[in-house]
Symmetry: C2
Subunit: 144 residues, 2 copies
DNA sequence: TGAAGACTATCAAGAGTTTGATAGTCCTCA
DNA sequence: TGAGGACTATCAAACTCTTGATAGTCTTCA
């Protein structure tokens, strides 16, 4: 017997993800950043010199998607794409001064959304939510 | 003080949503349906005659996106787009026989993913998860 | 040393979605 | 009755992401 729509947890998860994206998009609009660009800058701030592929993993997107984002960020002068001296096939990325300034500003705006969500839940609730979502992912990953 | 990445609940929510989408995409691949098409057919099965705008709301996408999906489904012969006799500006959509057959088949496959997630959680856990996600959405919606 | 495997970067093409805008239709209330 | 507001459908353009494929580089191990 199939589950009715209201019984499906996927709907709640998707709705929450969309609400989250919408709020962040709104918060970042005035500074001309997309959510993807913000996420890449954030990963870059926390991991200076990270590769494009590393950013892709951190942001849960494909390497191609992150490459496109980095291209845009470089054109905006927010990051510097180094050429490794030892001539390797990797291009470490770093924030420019302007990028550093902007990500701090952006994180004040978009991070506030996350912060509201964080503050709305007691520490035990946060652990519970994380744990339940982890169980969901584990269940999804099971073999059919 | 900004939250560290590991403290951010948004990451867990996004990761779960992606895992869910990936599993459903995989389950539907063999029958040539995308997740968006599956979702539209499901909304249509549960609400015969629903409008395109109604499907958009049910699927949490824009009316334009649902219109594109319906166009594809009509071309595949899975739905019938009626022209309201009373000449209104609405086009009720219904499943064709083939569409009815396919959505049942598709829901066996993709619904199983949802079912695994459902079965992995005790009833109390399911309520808790839904309630916590609801609190997150409420917090996100608050005024900054 | 040399070959296999894993990782990184990038090009190209296609699919799907969003924003923005236009127009017809229905309902409500003054 | 008639104007306003809400809803529906749809066209068009831009954007982002994905899949698919190619090629260079690093590491490991026989």
């Amino acid at each position: 017997m199939a589950l009715t729509v209201s019984e499906r947890l996927g709907y709640d998860i998707k709705a929450t993800e969309i609400a989250f994206m919408t709020a962040k998009t709104e918060a970042l609009r005035s500074m001309g950043l997309t959510v993807a660009q913000y996420a890449a800058l954030l990963a870059l701030r926390d991991n200076p010199g990270i590769s494009g592929a590393g950013i892709a993993r951190a942001c849960l997107v494909t390497p191609q998607a992150s490459a496109a984002t980095l291209k845009t960020l470089e054109a905006k002068g927010l990051i510097v794409r180094e050429q490794d001296d030892w001539n390797r096939n990797s291009r470490p990325n770093r924030l420019s001064d302007e990028g550093q300034r902007l990500i701090d500003l952006a994180d004040s705006a978009a991070g506030a959304v996350e912060q509201r969500m964080y503050d709305a839940l007691a520490p035990a609730d946060r652990d519970t939510l994380r744990r339940l979502l982890g169980r969901c992912r584990a269940a999804i990953a099971e073999n059919p």
